[in-house]
Symmetry: C2
Subunit: 292 residues, 2 copies
Amino acid sequence: MQNDVSVFEVGPRDGLQNESVLLPVEQKVALIHKLVDGGLKHVEIGSFVHPKWVPQMADTDEVARTIEKKPGVAYWALVPNMRGLERAIDAGIKHVAFFMSSSETHNQKNINRSISESLVAMEELFKLALSEKLQIRAYISTVFGCPFEGEVDFDRVLKIGDRLLELGAQQISLGDTTGMGRPLQVQEGSKRAVERWDSDRVALHLHDTSGLGQTNAFAGYLSGIRAFDSSVGGLGGCPYAPGAPGNLATQTLVNLLESLGRPTGISRDSLRETTQWLEDDIGFNLTQRRSL
Amino acid sequence: MQNDVSVFEVGPRDGLQNESVLLPVEQKVALIHKLVDGGLKHVEIGSFVHPKWVPQMADTDEVARTIEKKPGVAYWALVPNMRGLERAIDAGIKHVAFFMSSSETHNQKNINRSISESLVAMEELFKLALSEKLQIRAYISTVFGCPFEGEVDFDRVLKIGDRLLELGAQQISLGDTTGMGRPLQVQEGSKRAVERWDSDRVALHLHDTSGLGQTNAFAGYLSGIRAFDSSVGGLGGCPYAPGAPGNLATQTLVNLLESLGRPTGISRDSLRETTQWLEDDIGFNLTQRRSL
C-alpha cells in the first residue's frame, strides 16, 4: 500500500451485494476491467460469503478466475470464514478482506457471533492467509454508530483494531456502515486511529446515507487518513434505509482528493462513463439516489 | 444577527436570478412565505437591479410590498446602486445587501467599474442606507477564484472587507461565486477573515458547482464561520457552467450544521416540501442538477 492517497473501490462487492439486481459473471468482469482501466489500483471484486446469505456474490470464484489481472493492481475479495478463505485461495485471490463489527448486536446479527468469538475466529483465518502470503485487510463495521445500538464506544473500536493488527492485518478499514458518522466525530476517531496505528495502517470506509460522505472524508483527511473506500457511482444502497445512498461514490471522493492537491491517478471521465454504463446497460438508477 | 449559526436563504434572489423561468409575483411571495414558515430568519427576497440586466428580478418592489412580514425575520434585498437603494427604501426594505467583486475583471464585467470605483460608490450608498437605519450586508464575489482571472489574492479580499466594514457594513459575505473554492483554501481564507473581523461579521456564500459545497462549508465552520448563505433545493444554476449546480442547497447546509450539533430551527421537512413544490408546481428540475 502506497504512502500517498489510496482509493479502494468496493463497488463490485459492497456495491453489488446491496443491489437487488443480479449481474452475470461477464458483466461483473466488465465492471472490474472498466474500473482498473480507469486507474483504480485496489478493487474489491466480490466476496466468498455463502450464496444463501448473499446470492449476488455466488459466482465470485468464477469472477476471480475470469478477470484479466493487471500487474500493480490488487484484486481484493471479502472472506467471512475458513470455507470462504479456502475458496478464495483456490480462486487465486492474493488480497483478502475480513470483517467484523464493533457493535455486539450488529456482529451477532450479521455474523452470528460475539465480538470475542469473532476475534478468536480471525486468529485461525489470518494464520492460514499469512501462510499463503496473502495481503490482509480487516473491516471493522459500525465504528461511528450502529443501527441497533446507537453510539459505539470508540475505545472498543481501537482495541479490536489493535488485536487485528497484532494478528497480522496490514490495514484496518474503519466502517461507517450505515452512514451515521458526523464530521467532528469522524475527525476525532480518525485522529485517534492514525495516532495509534499510523496513516498507512488505517482506511475510512464511508457511506453517504446521511448525505455527509464527502464531508466525513475531508474530516478524516484532516486527521491524517490517506486511504478511503468508495464505490463507483455510489453503487450499493443502504440495507437499513431503502432508497437512500449507500457507499460514498468514487467520483465524489476523487473530486475531493484532487481538490486537496492529492492526485489519485484515477480518471473521473472513466468513472463517469462506467456510471453511465451501469445506468444505461445494467439498469441501475444511481444519479437519483445520490441526492438528499 | 445571532451569535449562533445563521442561515441566509438566497433562493428567491441568487437562485431565481440564475434560472431562465420567470416567476410571477404571487409565486415568489408564496416561495418566501414557505421559507419563513420553515424557520428561516434571513431571506433575500429579490434585487433592485435594472430589469434590463436581470429580468427575473423586475418585480422586487411588488414582492417586497406583498409579502406578509413576520417579526424576527430579516427580509433582505440586493441593491446595485443609488437608484436601486431608493427603490428598496420606497418598498419598505430594512435589510440591504450590496455587492462587488474581489477580481478586477469580474467586477468590470459584472458592475462595469474598477474595484476602487466600486468602493467609492459604496461610500455614498452606505451613507444613505445608514441614515435610513438599514442593516447592511456586503457581498464580495469570487474570493476563492475568478472564472476570468483564476486565483484571487486573498489579501485583496481582506482589504476590501476592511473598507466595507469601516464604511458601515454589519457583515461581509465571502462569495465563492462560481464554486471554485477548495476545502483547504476555504478553511485558510475563513480563518484569516474570522481572526481579522470576528465570527459575527463574516459569512460564507458557497456554490456547489464543483460538488464541494458542503465540504467547503465544513471547512469554513472549522475556522469559526457561523453564518452561511444557501438556496432552497440548490435553486439557481451557474451562469458559467450550464446545467451545473449553483448555490449550496439549504437542506445540504442544514443537514451539515445539525450533524455538527448546531440546530438551526429550520425544518428539513419544510425545505423538502418547498423543493418538491418548486419542482412539481413551478417546473424546476433541482434533484437532477445537484448530482455530480
